[in-house]
Amino acid sequence: MAGFRLAKGGLIDRSTTLDFTFDGKSFTGHPGDTLASALIANGVHLMGRSFKYHRPRGVIAAGAAEPNALVELRDGGRKEANTRATVIELYDGLKARSQNRWPSLNFDIGAINSLAASVFVAGFYYKTFMWPKSFWEKIYEPLIRRAAGLGSATHEADPDKYEKSYGHCDLLVIGSGPAGLSAALTAGRSGARVLLIDEGSRLGGSLLSENEEIGGVTGYDWAQAAIAELASLANVTLMPRTTVFGAYDGNVFGALERVNDHVLAPSPFEPRQRYWKIMAKRAVLAAGAEERPIVFGGNDVPGVMLASAMRTFANRYATASGKSVVVFTNNDSGYRTARDLKAKGVHVEVIVDSRKDAAAEAAGIPVLKGRIVSDATAGKIVSGVELSDHTHIACDTVAMSGGWSPVVNLLCHKGAKPVWNDKLQAFLPPNGDAQLVAAGSANGAMLLSEALREGAEKAAKAVGDLGFTAKADVPKCRDEAYAIQPLWWVKDSHGKAFVDYQNDVTPKDLPLAAREGYSSIELAKRYTTAGMATDQGKLGNVNAIAILAEAAGKSIAEIGTTTFRPFYTPVAFAAFAGPFTGHHFMPTRKTPLHDWAEEQGAVFVETGLWLRSSWFPLPTESGWLDPVIREVKAAREKVGICDVSTLGKIDVQGADAAEFLNRLYCNGFAQLDIGKARYGLMLREDGIVMDDGTTSRLAADHFFMTTTTANAAKIMTHMEFCHQALWPELDVQYVSVSEQWAQMAVAGPKARPTLQKIVDDVILDDITFPYLAAKEISILGGITARLFRISFSGEHAYELSVPADYGNLVARAIMQAGEEFGITPYGVEALSVMRVEKGHVAGGELNGTTTADDLGLGRMMSTKKDYIGRMMAGREGLTAKGRQVVVGIRPVDKADRIRAGSHLLKKDDKPSLAGSQGYITAVAYSPTLGYWLGLALCSNGRQRHGEIVKVFDGIRNIHMYAEICDPMHYDKENKKLHA
């Protein structure tokens, strides 16, 4: 069917033709069309099916509020479900499919649900599907789930890019209709920084859709001139195709810019959408008002539309929604539609006005006053209307207007409730937000002159507050009167009427909810699902409130609205994620030895944000165990080198540096000699161990602290807190130098001769460089370095820090120097094996619930000074006998492999969590000892060395016996350390 495209007028470009398909069928349209207008122009009215009853549905609205005409758009990774046909701009090659129907949109089996409509009332599922019990998950729920949802989404990744950006302005103007343009002009002319945002593809708001006159020209021309002037002002930024979706604390707004949704695919280098965080000093909400449907029988049949939508389709999109129109209204604005359509040559049969004393101008169109449409009669499309006095009028389209609701959403996102106004029969914005005010019909100013004036005045006031001088200069215009008498629900209709279209909520559902006790609007919403669909009740909520009010015997004001929440219109996940997807989800941090490690064939592992070398397989090795065994052996027997640059490093200076450390660590640091390192333990204020590390004294007032990799940032923040908030009187300065220093451990019997070859002018013997020596030296002929004789591996070992830009080169130099000794790079796996062999505690034991004593470090807790955590550490529960403490663990049968995460049970106990004696925190295959061994936290463990326990690893179904032992599995006398 053709002939719905008006011959002239409208904001479409007839010189260009765009091809598109809907459900596989080809159509054409023009630039300036939306998918909805192009479909209507092609005579397609049936665009979707409803949620529950699969009712055939067409377009109701012309913009963001559309609940019915939702389609699946695009293909592959770009497929989107539930796109509103009314807002998607037509582009060449557009492919859309209808959804929630089977086998086809025209013939949808699901429509038989309608037959059971008398059972499928609000909340029926809460009362049924309970017997037999097992049927719910096996049969009922899967059925319900398949029926639920609308469009189907893809599991493929999206090929498009997304961006984020921050915006700043003095005045944010949301909406570019007469109120918004007037606001932007006023503020823009004052010199204030203005951001004018509108979700439409073009600026102008209702002026694009209406026949109005401003300042002697058409509203459209006035808008064009205003936009041109705004575009010429350097202090004004215009953002069409952008929706402000949320208002947040501090006058921060979230907005979504649809940079490339109006094309088939974004051009290379451009994002599809951009997510904006806008910090506005002031904001004016000029979001307009939304027309309401009237609830009567068949008010959902394709061909029944909002009067204003029909006007928009005619005036803006040059599309007649039908050939013969009945207007049904309770206010003046229905007349506008009738007149505009008539002027466009569309036949308007009659205006049915529920008001007896209506006084609006009908331009010769017959008016039936005080009459009511009870039903739209229809097959799949309207064939006529029946009035409540049984008069039948033939028509193919019904334009309805139930009055207007200001779009107050953003004003209510911070919790304020809108206020009912009897005269306008609408909820108006709440007062009280000085930084965000409404203007124009968003503020209930339904006349054009008021919109222009309010826009200018509110903007002038807002920028005036900020110190700009603005003049509210308001053009003259002609007003259309707006008067309304409420009519919510035509009770004597025969057919099904709908309050919430998408969720198929009928006006009978609301009184039922009230009768059953769900009489607060919030309970009724949840029980009936009114307002919970993708349109969030933009059209239906006020009708629902009014119907519920009547059923509950309360006023509309008493019932009030449900809570307005972000998002004004739904926002794609990808837009919030922006560029931080895939491997860019979080930043990757590389150590200064990364290139060297890569050369050595390292396999990297994610440790927090860092990439660390976990092991260095030779080409001949497969798996991880072989290289790790080889690396451990090399470090134990010859010499190994390991990248430990990820340790947190903090330079601590100042007259009170020693005192500061003394308060942070539970052990003493005041007496540490210059040139010496000490192992330190920090507690949290609640007495639990927070972190450990080695800290060295480089000068009386200068320390070099290290932290664990995992806690580096946390410790820095903790120190800042302790200094700034607790002890600002201390003269101490500290700064993270983690990234300044590349740090490597060189360990093994041949560590000393290896390093000796690269250091300048130091003899690395036990006299100048004894165990725990820590000195600033130079290496390789002048590179500043710090050398520490400390050991995590238990071997005679050093840690060497060099400035990071030299890291790779120094590592290579050490490799060269150690070549003759068989130097081998080792990774964090080998490091971990050696620390487990030596019983050194790490992440698995420092797990946020262990005390110093649990870790076997109780004697480090000084009794001579105050330090963080001292008092709380003394509580009964933290010092109780029977706490789980660190022990060693090894399998009884040395061929067995124990695994971390296994629990320990008394040898003859049956499994029970209460009977768990503890669990294994870390394991390693010890090439040194030739079996798997580990550390565990075990109740009363220090008294139980030698006891055989049952290892419970039910989740992997592995069970064995193991022996509790000293955590120090290897070289108990620390001979190798001091060798």
Binding site: P592, L780, L809
Partner: protein
């Protein structure tokens, strides 16, 4: 003494990453140009307790400009002090080896400030061009409009989940410094965001 043949020189973390050339949209002049400022000498200078005024005087005596105020930079003859926290500054020098700058400041301000060499710890990226501001606004919440920021400003902020020291050096010219370990990732983000404008790496 070393008996090794490896030539020791500073290697930037972005040495293999910041490849010269023109990238992204290729119409018209590039919206921004990037360059890595390396080798740079950077020292964190933190005034000791109650010594900020004395420190400022000492800086002025030595370099003939006072310490910058909160959120500002001050410089002369290739040495700049940038505010980067309470009583805390990045001293950045051109043409002076890193160890040299560190020793100089440490000796000069003995008892007045604590100095830590950061020359290797941070990577400085220069961003210049008409789109520099728009580009940086994709990362920093700081208002970079001329009425709020401008040449001579210095701020600590966060971009793309990474801490950034941001200074403006000219009308359309900025410098960003980030921790070395993040620099490669940050570079990837920054250049990708510049694709729509077209960018040149110098």
């Amino acid at each position: 003494m070393p008996d090794t043949a490896i030539a020791i020189k500073r290697v930037s973390a972005l040495a293999d990453v910041a490849v010269q050339g023109r990238f992204g949209a290729d119409k018209g002049a590039p919206g921004v140009t990037f360059s890595v400022r390396h080798p740079a000498s950077i020292v964190t200078v933190i005034a000791r307790k109650d010594k900020s005024e004395a420190l400022s005087k000492a800086v002025e005596a030595a370099y003939r400009f006072p310490l910058p105020g909160v959120g500002e930079s001050a410089s002369k003859s290739g040495l700049a002090f940038h505010w980067c926290g309470v009583d805390q500054y990045f001293a950045i020098a051109e043409g002076k080896a890193e160890a040299e700058l560190y020793r100089e400041l440490k000796t000069r301000f003995e008892g007045l400030a604590s100095c830590s060499d950061q020359s290797h710890g941070r990577v400085i990226i220069r961003v210049v061009g008409p789109k520099a501001r728009a580009l940086l606004s994709k990362g920093t919440p700081i208002d970079l409009h001329a009425s709020a920021f401008g040449p001579g400003k210095s701020a600590m902020t966060q971009m793309a989940h990474v801490g950034v020291h941001l200074i403006q050096t000219g009308e359309d010219a900025f410098e960003l410094s980030v921790f070395r370990g993040f620099s490669e990732n940050f570079w990837e983000w920054l250049t990708e965001q510049a694709e729509e404008y077209g960018y040149q790496v110098l």
